[in-house]
Point group: C2
Chain length 294, copies 2
Amino acid sequence: MTSASSASSTIAASALGRLSLNQKTTNAWTLPEAVEGCVRAGIPAIGVWREPLHEFGLAKARALLDDAGLRVSSLCRGGFLTATDAAARRAALDDNRAAIDEAAALGTDTLVMVVGGLPEGSRDLIGARARVAEAIAELAPFAGDRGVRLALEPMHPIFAADRGVLSTLGQALDLAEQFPSDQVAVVIDTFHVWWDPEVEAQIARAAGRIAAFQVCDWITPLPADTLLSRGMMGDGHIDFARLRRVVQDAGYVGDVEVEIFNADVWAADPDQVLRQMKHRYLECVWDGEMQVSP
Amino acid sequence: MTSASSASSTIAASALGRLSLNQKTTNAWTLPEAVEGCVRAGIPAIGVWREPLHEFGLAKARALLDDAGLRVSSLCRGGFLTATDAAARRAALDDNRAAIDEAAALGTDTLVMVVGGLPEGSRDLIGARARVAEAIAELAPFAGDRGVRLALEPMHPIFAADRGVLSTLGQALDLAEQFPSDQVAVVIDTFHVWWDPEVEAQIARAAGRIAAFQVCDWITPLPADTLLSRGMMGDGHIDFARLRRVVQDAGYVGDVEVEIFNADVWAADPDQVLRQMKHRYLECVWDGEMQVSP
């Protein structure tokens, strides 16, 4: 390696010190493939999903991540707490307790919570939101006791019916603030909050409760499958520098997770996706004024 | 006609006293076809769109509507006020002044305003919102002088990038309240606002400034073209009775416009669409406690 390329990789490593690959961005990879991909790409952290984690095995995964020297920025995901019938509610609470234990075992303090949409056939949005609040109250001390924070993810209103009835950061904070900040926090995902006229005020209000900062872009025309409608940073309409600055001003110095659900990104070579993701992170999100590592 | 069927059509006529067909719901019809369709169906009001109005001619349209005894619940639409370059801004303001004059000539006091999205290539949402506010300030007295209210339509955040940077009713009211209520008001469209955790408080706050109440449903899976993603009332997730009650409590006694952009609805026989629309209105929206006519 020449001294010039060595200098340039030193700079890159430092600038990438807070970058995390959310596993969904490289959906075709198994967990070990994603870990190896991060190591090859010099990405120091990963957001892990439960399904591939279960496939690979929890203890093995912990050893693999430790050996690779990767931080786990979050475990995705708990939630789905809106069911009305008692058996389904009990099952959901049990599953969330299992997810909390998995997060603790993986060494991350962040369990991302997608709270769930309206139950089949229901139009009672207020009731669904109330059930989420009840379930969080039940899970919060259990999480805090294990060093895990329930990281409530306000979701874009496009998902209010079928994914997440928490629709704004303000609403998520109204709920989170009923609990100690080491039990319940929030996720700020640019895709979900970028449009909100109150986003700056609410991010400032979230100081001390920001468990995760996730980035991806809002692209138009929106892809036909709304679940796969997220774009690579720079491909859409979001001003990442602005949101990153507000998150930073709120004191957040944790990982910046790139989480992209997109059929084209999923069909591409994952190593190439990681290269582009690093490039776009440096171009759109990173700034020399950022603290270089968590 | 038997006396039984006569009694039943009397009841229906009274229950339909505030129902309005927004012309977009029967997109295949010309203006005269839509007017005749409303008359045949016993629908007493219509929301008119500018393009078919221009096609048919303003003076002729006014005569046609008067002869048919139809109220014009709104003219759709003004807006698109986010351009950055001076010529485009001037053109937009001129076009909005023309729309205000057309509304006055048609005898409606409501010009629905879709304010516009981000200009091509721009990520400056704050700037776009500021330009909307400036343009409204320029147009408001002109509208008020002609007996027309600029009815700001907060749009679902799904459209923040490409249609309307006013994303919540609260944000629309923050702007509207800077002007007299006979100059600037708001549109409440169930599709755009149903998900908002603050919707009840903001509708209450809108008392005296509600220029139009539009209904259609949020359906899932969302159709591939987001512009055509609206459903017939009852086909989706919106609790119309709840929102109608809050709008009523805010003192609104105007027309209830059914506005559905949907490829399947557009492909159906328009007379059949009107029949279904009346049925669903009576089933989902209407309540005996509503004032029967504006």
